[in-house]
């Protein structure tokens, strides 16, 4: 189960080398995403995570908001 974190922790983790994943649809990702984020829409996350992510580094996922 992913651990919830806030904005400051995102910045600390990313500064420390964490991977950041935007799970929104591609068109939303293209409009705006966090610096360095890669796009893995939710429905493809499980399928793509294994090949696209480095297991040795923390992963931060986000979508639009908490709703």
């Amino acid at each position: 189960m992913p651990r919830p974190i806030d904005r400051d922790e995102v910045r600390r983790l990313v500064d420390g080398g964490a991977q950041i994943v935007d799970v929104l649809p591609a068109n939303e990702y293209e409009s705006d995403h966090l610096p360095g984020a890669i796009n893995m829409p939710l429905r493809r996350l499980e399928e793509e995570a294994r090949s696209a992510l480095d297991r040795g580094r923390p992963v931060v996922v986000y979508c639009s908001d908490s709703a």
């Binding site: 974190i5 992963v59 908001d65």
Partner: protein
């Protein structure tokens, strides 16, 4: 694995940098003036007016100790009796916008509602800067011209 629950909107509302096609277009936080004078609720209007005008401004944003916006003094409010306290003179609870709002959207709103200026704040109400209507209109026009030229003049 970590879940940034508040998500992209929280990040953008804090005025933090982003990437993508929207990041290339000017937004409210980019155009807002960061050097706007600020004051506290308990100050004297005359002192604040003098300070603002000496800095070349005809506006001042009212903040608390944590830089949360409480009110706004535009040219009209600054003309009131100099012995008033800011709390009495200010326009409380002004319309504010998040830094990520597009410049076209905010320009249209300011024109429609005849706003000289609007504070730009983070999602927790902290001041980012003051957006002046003339700056917003100029940025919106520049953007329109750039996009028109990049289309080869086609409309």
């Amino acid at each position: 694995m970590f879940d940034y629950e508040d998500g992209k909107l929280d990040w953008l509302a804090a005025g933090l940098p982003s990437e993508g096609t929207n990041a290339q277009r000017p937004r409210a936080g980019d155009i807002a003036r960061k050097d706007v004078p600020t004051c506290r609720l308990d100050e004297r209007l005359g002192d604040v007016r003098d300070r603002a005008r000496w800095a070349g401004w005809d506006a001042c944003v009212v903040l608390n100790e944590e830089r949360v916006v409480f009110g706004l003094l535009r040219s009209k409010e600054l003309e009131a009796s100099p012995d008033l306290r800011i709390e009495e003179a200010m326009r409380p609870g002004p319309s504010t916008f998040r830094p990520f709002v597009s410049i076209e959207e905010i320009t249209a709103f300011m024109m429609e509602h005849d706003l000289e200026s609007s504070p730009i704040t983070t999602s927790d109400g902290r001041l980012v800067g003051l957006l002046l209507r003339e700056d917003a209109a100029e940025a919106s026009l520049d953007l329109h011209e750039r996009e028109r030229h990049s289309d080869g003049g086609q409309t």
